[in-house]
Structures are given as C-alpha cells and as structure tokens.
C-alpha cells in the first residue's frame, strides 16, 4: 500500500463515533514528510495523536465556550470531533514524530528512517 507517496489515505479506523475529517496538506521532501491538518476549536489537551504499527491517527475534540442558553440555528461544523487516519510508509521513522499545534493548525513532521535518507557517495579518486 505504500510505494510512493510516502503517506496514503486510509479509511477511519473506528466508526463507533461519527467524526469530521480535517482538511490536510502533506508535503514530502528528501528528509521526511510534513503534515498540516486544520483542527479549529481543538485545544492542546484535547488532541490525541497515535501511531500504531503503520497507522497514524489524529483525533481531536472541539471545545468551544458556548454561552448558557444558546440554541444553534445553523451549523456547518456539525460534530464536535475530528478524526483521520493515515497509513505511514515503511521508510518513515514513526518513533521520531514531532508535533506542534498552533491556533488550530497541527503540524507534524515525520522524518525518513536512516536507510531511506538520501546519501551522497563520495567518489574516491584513485
């Protein structure tokens, strides 16, 4: 399932609770991949990132300060939860994932494993 691109889309792992799919950008460069996901309304403590085998799961709960007695009249974000799963390529080193969440945007950096890094081979002049 993982030749190229390094990350392929996978269906949601658990369908027990309905969730929204966050829009995502995935950029691959020589050193690894960078993943951006829009998770508006998710504070840092409500975000869960999980790498299990070759599956990366992003899950976040929306926490809005809803005033008392408010009744919703129009909702485009209709569920208070985001979830999305990605299948990671074997050439990525899932043990060195770094993540930052800034104003509702999650940025994940997953470097490629040593053996998949591009190397320059020195040419010895005899």
């Amino acid at each position: 399932m993982s030749e190229n691109p390094a990350v392929t889309k996978a269906t949601e792992i658990s369908r027990d609770e309905a969730a929204l799919l966050p829009p995502t950008d995935v950029i691959e460069d020589a050193g690894g991949i960078t993943l951006y996901a829009d998770l508006p309304g998710v504070p840092k403590d409500k975000l869960a990132l999980q790498v299990e085998a070759d599956t990366l799961t992003i899950e976040g709960e929306v926490a809005l300060d809803l005033p008392e007695g408010m009744e919703s009249s129009h909702a485009e974000v209709s569920l208070p939860r985001y979830r999305r799963a990605f299948t990671l390529s074997r050439e990525l080193d899932s043990s060195r994932v770094s993540a930052e969440l800034n104003q509702g945007v999650l940025k994940l950096r997953i470097p490629k494993a040593e053996h998949a890094q591009p190397r320059r081979i020195e040419i010895q002049v005899a």
């Binding site: 691109p5 390094a6 990350v7 889309k9 269906t11 309905a18 969730a19 929204l20 799919l21 966050p22 829009p23 995502t24 950008d25 995935v26 950029i27 691959e28 460069d29 020589a30 991949i33 951006y36 829009d38 998770l39 508006p40 309304g41 998710v42 504070p43 926490a63 809005l64 300060d65 809803l66 005033p67 008392e68 007695g69 408010m70 009744e71 919703s72 009249s73 129009h74 909702a75 485009e76 974000v77 209709s78 569920l79 999305r84 800034n102 104003q103 509702g104 945007v105």
Partner: protein, 143 residues
C-alpha cells in the same frame, strides 16, 4: 465513494450499498476528503440575550482578520497564507484552504451594534453581539 459489490447476487450487500447511497447526501461528511463548502465554516447560535457566531478559521493571525458590522450585515474577511512548498518537495495531499476569504451573515434586527465582541482562540473566531436592551426578556412585577 462506495463501490458496487463484487458479488452482484449478494442481495444484502446490494441493499446495504443502496442504503448507504441514500444516506450519503445527509451524511455530514460523505467524502473521504475533508473539504468544507466555504471558508471559514460558520456556526450560528442565539439566545434571548445575544447572537453568537463561530467562524472556524484556523492558523490566521488575529490582527489580519477583519470583522465589520454594517447595516445589520456582519462580514468576516481576511487572508490565509499557507507556507509555499519548498523546492524539491512534493505536495501529495492539498486540501487546506489558502487565499482570501469573505463571509457575510445577516443579523436579526434586534441586535445592538455597539455591544459586539470578538475573540479568537484555537483557530475559532467567536463573535458575540448582544441584543438590544428593550429586546431582552423581562419579568414584569405585578403590583
């Protein structure tokens, strides 16, 4: 996207596919791609005291967001800049919104244009407009 069953004579699989096909338009997220219709997505709610508008606009500098209220029309506008893809890099999935955006909401007549506050937190802009004093519910004391 749901695919036709590989076993056409499997009646239950066909019924299941048909049922999913009928549910699809009502499903909040029928597509595998996480695209929304407009940017930012808006949730609107109200109570007897105020009208609350939530704009889901992640990753924007709040100083560049423009919120205007003119003649009962609330406009949320701005620009979302996404870091350019560096050279020698490949963009595999490109779903996030980039560029200028503008959304307009018509407000009810009883809101007070002077009692408006806007907050930006975790990528959500919350605009709260209080209703006019005379429109708020009151308890009338019986003499």
């Amino acid at each position: 996207m749901y695919y036709r069953s590989l076993f056409p004579r499997d009646l239950f699989a066909e019924l299941d596919r048909l049922q999913r096909g009928m549910q699809q338009p009502f499903d909040p997220n029928p597509n595998i791609r996480g695209l929304t219709r407009g940017f930012p997505a808006l949730n609107v709610g109200g109570s007897s005291q105020a009208v609350d508008i939530y704009a889901f606009a992640p990753g924007i500098d709040p100083a560049t967001l423009e919120v205007h209220l003119v003649k009962g029309m609330l406009t949320i506008a701005g620009e979302r800049k996404v870091d350019p893809v560096p050279e020698k890099a490949t963009l595999h999935i490109d779903e996030r919104f980039a560029g200028r955006f503008r959304r307009v909401v018509s407000l009810p007549d009883d809101v007070d244009p002077n009692a408006i506050e806007a907050k930006y937190r975790d990528g959500v802009l919350h605009v709260r407009i209080l209703r006019k004093e005379e429109a708020q519910p009151r308890r009338i004391t019986i003499q």
